[in-house]
């Protein structure tokens, strides 16, 4: 197994663990952390693919994603803060207003 392949598996591992965290964890901030993990897995993938192809496209795109992730994290944390004020909780199971009222 080459070093690159190993890194691909690592990226997959990162994505899966991020997804697992995002899906299973109770606290919204930890879910946000899971999402960051998944984004990092994507970034790693982009950087790895850039090796196979001459140029800087993948790495630049990874940089953009890092910036977007920063913005997303900022916005996400702001939303969590706001909803914490509203619901007095950051546990996602208790925040289910998206569901139809019945």
């Amino acid at each position: 197994m080459s070093k690159q392949e190993l890194l691909f598996f690592f990226s997959a591992f990162l994505f899966c663990s991020g997804l697992l965290i995002a899906v299973t964890k109770k606290n919204a901030i930890v879910v946000l952390m899971g999402i960051e993990l998944m984004l990092n897995a994507a970034n790693l993938n982009l950087a790895l693919f850039n090796f196979q192809k001459r140029g800087m496209d993948g790495q630049l795109l990874a940089l953009f994603i890092i910036i977007v992730a920063v913005c997303e994290a900022a916005v996400g944390i702001a939303i969590i803060l706001k909803s914490y004020h509203f619901y007095h909780s950051s546990v996602l199971d208790q925040i289910s207003d998206l569901k139809e009222k019945n």
Binding site: L19, A22, V23, T24, V31, L92, D93, I95, S96, D97, L98, K99, E100
Partner: protein
């Protein structure tokens, strides 16, 4: 005639028609508490009607013919009109009907004084008169038919006036049913005439411009109507039975309304009858007149004798109309109205007087064997009865003599000198002229002259019953309708337009015949002991025939009932089958059709529930499903 005179006559006519109807309606609406008003009211209205009818008669006279007509309804572009045709014959008939009806009303005040249902009785009496007047003045055969039926219905109600008497109800039913046979004939005749000619106006010449066969058929059908209504052979048995009704009703039925309707119709639609039909009419009349006369000879019930004599006289009239003596027959019909009403009212007076005395004993007060020697006790009744009886037997100086001689002369001339079947009919006329005095004499002898059978303190009937008797007796004298110092000229004009040149021989022969038969009757009945005589009821096996027919009808109805049951069985089977099928389809509907619909709805509901459960408001599950969708998408892209 001018329009003004026309409308004057129209109002008179409608008044004569409307007054009896008004009397009838007011009698029916009167309360039982003031029931005594009904006789007075209807008598007064009938008096006004008869006065108006006499004015009308003198207005119409012998020359004029007035007709009024209003469109009633249109049928297939042909109109049925409410039409009135007043000629001299109609107007004199109206006069006779109203006068006789008025007298019967007055008489009934006394006769029915103890009856509880007076209002009903007088109402029906007035309605009877109304129906007859409508029949007389009507010119459309449909109108005549309607009034014809009304006459039948009211006679039914009147015969069955004593509703406690079972015989009365049976007699009324018999009269009604036998009349229905004639009504069917009348109706078929109407249908034939309407379908061929498209008109029902008796004065319309189109009426008879139809194929001769159908004209003859229609004539025969109409004559069947006349047979039942005027009690001709073979449908006359209802008339003696109808004696169960109150006596004044019998007087009205026999004189002016019921039986006269048939004979009047013969005159009204005389144009319809072809030669062949006239032969049938003459022969039917001849049989009837002999059967009636012989029947009268063997009766002991005073009313039944008179009933059979009516049959005989009506047979004579019908025979005369079928033969060459239409005027004579009509003349006799009018005279007959007077003297027969007089005879019946006289008989009613005798019955009434005897009944007053014999209320306790159960003696049959109508049986002439129980009478006798009433001459001295009921003088007024005796005189009026004698005059009417003389008119019935045709003794000179009475009205019956004039018209009977008229008929005899015309019939003899009609028969001609050569021997033919006409001679047989003519000889019937003479035979009846011979027989009538015999049974009349027998009747009078038994009632008035014979030794009294029982000792009674009989009193003369009340004055209100005597007046009609006197009026009718005076009317039965010849002086009003034949040339005499007191005659009414327009009556003569109407009736004797074609008075035959008097044949002196015929007059002498008929007078001689009448006198001989009277003498013969005197010798026969002078010493006869009536007590041993058996009561013979000559029904001429007609009742047996009708019984047979009713038996046949019963059998037929049983057969149809059996057949009906089979049909019912079939129908039941079909309905059971249908119910089973309905149950099956109901089941299928509930479980299959509805099941499919319910199943779809249920599955949609399930799918909805499943999909709804995805949107549970938990952001993480949304994420999970989004990821799952992405995985599916990628797998789909890659492979």
């Amino acid at each position: 005639m001018t329009t003004a005179a026309n409308s004057y006559i129209l109002w008179l006519t409608l008044a004569v028609l409307g007054l009896p109807l008004m009397a009838s309606l007011s009698c029916f609406s009167i309360k039982q508490k003031v029931g005594w008003l009904a006789p007075l009211l209807s008598s007064i209205l009938l008096l006004i009607a008869s006065i108006l009818a006499s004015i009308l008669f003198f207005q119409i006279g012998s020359e004029y013919e007035v007709s009024f007509s209003w469109v009633w309804f249109n049928l297939n572009q042909k109109e049925i009109a409410l039409s009135i045709l007043l000629d001299s014959k109609a107007s004199i008939m109206m006069l006779i009907v109203t006068i006789v009806s008025f007298l019967v009303h007055v008489y009934s005040i006394g006769y029915m004084a103890e009856d509880y249902h007076q209002a009903r009785y007088f109402g029906m009496l007035a309605f009877f008169t109304f129906a007859m007047i409508g029949l007389v003045m009507g010119s459309n055969l449909l109108i005549i038919f309607i009034f014809w039926e009304l006459v039948g219905v009211s006679s039914y109600r009147l015969i069955a006036h004593d509703q406690e008497k079972e015989t009365a109800i049976k007699a009324a039913t018999k009269a009604f049913l036998l009349n229905k046979i004639g009504d069917i004939g009348f109706l078929i005749g109407l249908i034939i005439l309407w379908s061929w000619s498209g008109t029902l106006e008796v004065a319309d010449p189109n009426l008879i411009s139809i194929p001769p066969f159908w004209l003859a058929t229609a004539g025969v059908c109409m004559f069947i109507g006349v047979i039942s209504k005027s009690a001709q052979f073979p449908l006359f048995n209802w008339l003696p039975d109808a004696m169960e009704g109150p006596t004044p009703v019998s007087a009205l039925i026999h004189a002016a309304t019921m039986v006269a309707a048939g004979a009047y119709l013969l005159v009204r639609i005389a144009i319809l009858f072809t030669e062949d039909v006239l032969i049938l009419i003459a022969i039917t009349g001849a049989i009837t007149t002999l059967a009636g006369a012989v029947g009268a000879l063997f009766q002991f019930d005073i009313k039944k004798i008179l009933a059979y004599s009516t049959i005989s006289q009506l047979g004579l009239i019908v025979m005369a109309m079928g033969g060459g003596a239409v005027q004579g027959g009509y003349f006799h019909l009018l005279h007959h109205a007077f003297f027969k009403a007089g005879l019946f009212l006289g008989a009613g007076a005798i019955i009434h007087a005897l009944h007053q005395v014999n209320q306790q004993s159960n003696m049959d007060v109508q049986d002439i064997r129980n009478m006798g020697g009433l001459r001295k006790k009921l003088p007024i009744t005796f005189i009026s009865f004698m005059i009417c009886a003389a008119a019935l037997s045709g003794i000179p100086f009475t009205s019956g003599y004039v018209s009977k001689e008229f008929i005899l002369t015309q019939m003899t001339m009609w028969a001609g000198n050569e021997f033919s079947w006409r001679w047989i009919v003519m000889s019937c006329t003479w035979a009846v002229t011979f027989l009538t005095p015999i049974y009349t004499f027998r009747l009078v002898w038994f009632i008035f002259y014979r030794k009294p059978q029982h000792e009674h303190n009989i009193e003369e009937v009340p004055i209100i019953m005597r007046i009609p008797l006197i009026v009718l007796a005076v009317g039965s004298l010849a002086m009003l309708s034949s040339l005499s110092p007191f005659h009414i000229s327009s009556v003569i004009n109407v009736l004797q337009q074609s008075y035959p040149s008097t044949n002196t021989i015929i007059s002498f022969v008929s007078i001689a015949l009448i006198l001989i038969s009277s003498a013969a009757a005197f010798y026969i009945y002078k010493n006869q002991d009536a007590k041993n005589q058996k009561l013979v009821t000559p029904q001429y096996y007609l009742d047996a025939v009708s019984n047979y027919f009713s038996l046949l009808t019963l059998k037929l109805s049983e057969a149809t009932r059996w057949f009906d049951k089979r049909i019912d069985f079939l129908i039941h089977g079909i309905s059971y089958f249908q119910i089973t099928v309905a149950h099956i389809t109901g089941w299928a509907d509930r479980y299959l059709v509805d099941g499919v619909v319910d199943g779809i709805a249920y599955s949609a509901k399930g799918v909805g529930a499943v999909t709804r459960s995805l949107a549970n408001g938990k952001i993480q599950s949304y994420l999970l499903w989004a990821m799952a969708g992405l995985v599916i998408f990628i797998v789909w892209i890659l492979y």
